[in-house]
Symmetry: none
DNA sequence: CATGAATGAGCCTTCATTCAT
DNA sequence: GATGAATGAAGGCTCATTCAT
């Protein structure tokens, strides 16, 4: 239980400060995440959530003005954390200056990092991806953040390693697209489509990196 | 309109025989596909569908016993057509004997074929993919068809081209996974995530094929 | 089947003339009687009746303008036949002049006659009694016929046997009430409440007559 | 109003403990009883009940999960109370030991007691008897209670007064049947068939008792 | 703060009835 | 005459939300 609370607080915490969540609030969020992930937002009733959370129906609305607010309280932090590495101020500098000597190292690190992230917060991430198609607010939020933060930085990195000679001279957009597809595709296959298949995670992730790099490398 | 009717009938037609759809039925299906795609099954009311289709609400239930039946009437054929190339009896023989001299030719053909398919039936496909997370029946149907038809044939093809020397000796499962991710990932990016981006489809598809082949080829 | 048709025609036939019923009409009436008896008029849908009768939904409404008309087509003749002995023109004369030498003979004959009647037309009678509480038209019809035909004649008979010295000098209304209750009560017990009990019909009917006569006879 | 509440609470109270009914609940039950009695369960809509009760339709379903639950909440206690005298633990002893010196006294008391009961709870009793034909649950409940409690005790009493010499030596079952028919028949005539007739209740009940006793007494 | 009774709009579905074929 | 597709009102029931306690 301590554990449950913990992952939630970590997920919802956005700027280092501890989030303040009453015990009831935590129960509500947990229940909502679980049910939204399983049945979808529209097919889940607030009374079900209340029952599963062990609180009165009214209590949910004390904390979240509407059912949609409850959804967004889950989705917004998840979305932010999903693209988090790119939100870090120092991120690009780190990539160039020392941390990653090659694009290969970079995507390997990125894949591993996102793998751990999805593993940890899977239910919330399911909610996020399942609902994004139905709620413009979420779609726009993601687009805003992606173009404002992720895309720019990603592009810099790609172009750096193209000049550097590691990557082939294909359009940066294509490189970015293929990189994201390879990483996201692996995670979707691993955690959503075939979570019960017996994965050799280490090997498969390395294969993913290799395949991508051979595909993108300068020949 | 003639056109509209046509694509629907093609989508729903499963074994060569013409499907018989009354005009009202077509209107209902069109309206349902459009609304399910946009708002999701659970958030779409039958009265909205009826209004958009220009029929009485009761008419929907004369043709489809329940709202869920209406969903499945859309999703089942879409699902079947989605994995259709692999359902053709002669398919494997064709691949080996002449049509495709290399795995590269094969995936190029596959990608183009699926690209045309998605382009044509996009709304129905959206419905299918958006709802699969929420309905076990659909998930099980897909799994059954995939393991029974797609997976076996795909494996034969991959192993053939591995013996042949074109593909590297990594596990067939991994090759299949990466192939599917590359193709599906491109289509998702192209039609769902960024349908409004100015795509140079020819170039981008070729790049996808190249990247994948370099990644998978024997070095 | 010949049989089925027969009893229905007999029930519906009111004034000696043969009733003209198309085959479909018979099927509809049979189905309606069966379902109304089992589930009640309000809980039976016309489409169920149509299905059970093997006709199209519209066919019912060609023969009976409304669902209620269908009910009345069943109930009215049943009601009339239920009080039929008293409708016969010559009835009172028969009782006095020869047929029945005593009130005891009269009620014995009445009971046997009504017993055969209920046995033959049970489902239709069930419909009649189950629905009478809910439809004023039926209630009024019964009241009209009862006061106009049954009550008057019954009273004459009772008063005759009171003067005659067979019956005690209690109010005729009370005698009528107790007679009807004894007869109707037996039939309800026999056919509705405990149809599956192993009845010795002869003995039980005789007991009913005896009990009633001892109760009513002059001491 | 105070009065209304009172009779309802008395009817629904089953084991001495006070039933807790919110004001809205009482209004709902009152409205439901009235409408079910008048139009029948199947022909009464929950929205009508709500309107008559002066509550929102949803409120009905907060207290009674389904419309049928509402019916049973009315019918079950009515059914139990209807056969209540026989449910009392001490009942048989009372009959034998002192209270009733003869079968005549016993049925006189029973009739008067049931008369008061029907007079008090008429609408609920109508619902009970009108619906019993259509709902197996109710029929089975009555059968269970009757055979388990009423029949056994009734039989003991009858056989006691037969040995005793008061009652003739006809089968106990027949005595029971005729007794019940006489009592129930009177009540049905009095309250259902001809409630508006000018009844001299005292006289008519005594006549009923006399008639029955003369019919059943040893000669 | 938390509760849970109350609400009434809206949901999916069924119904009796009509009417073109 | 018979059909059965079409209708739209009404049915039972659920829902998100409010508010007095």
């Amino acid at each position: 239980m301590m554990n449950e609370e913990q992952w939630l607080k970590e997920l919802l915490q956005l700027n280092g400060e501890d989030v303040k969540l009453s015990e009831k609030q935590i129960k509500i969020l947990e229940a909502a995440i679980e049910m939204f992930a399983e049945k979808g937002y529209a097919a889940t009733s607030t009374s079900e959530i209340a029952k599963k959370a062990g609180v009165a129906e009214g209590t949910i609305f004390r904390h979240y003005k509407t059912k949609k607010d409850l959804l967004l309280a889950i989705v917004t932090p998840t979305l932010l954390k999903s693209v988090a590495p790119f939100l870090a101020k120092e991120f690009v500098k780190e990539v160039f200056e020392s941390q990653y000597e090659s694009y290969e190292d970079f995507i390997r690190a990125l894949l591993k990092n996102r793998y751990e992230f999805v593993k940890k917060y899977l239910p919330a991430i399911r909610v996020f991806w399942q609902e994004i198609a139905f709620h413009v607010e979420i779609k726009e939020q993601l687009q805003r953040i992606f173009t404002a933060h992720v895309y720019q930085k990603f592009k810099q990195i790609v172009e750096y390693f193209q000049k550097n000679g590691e990557l082939a001279a294909i359009p940066a957009d294509s490189v970015i697209r293929m990189t994201i597809i390879a990483i996201a595709g692996f995670l979707v296959a691993r955690f959503i489509v075939l979570p019960d298949y017996e994965w050799d995670d280490e090997a498969e992730m390395e294969r993913t990196v290799q395949c991508l790099m051979h595909g993108l490398a300068k020949k």
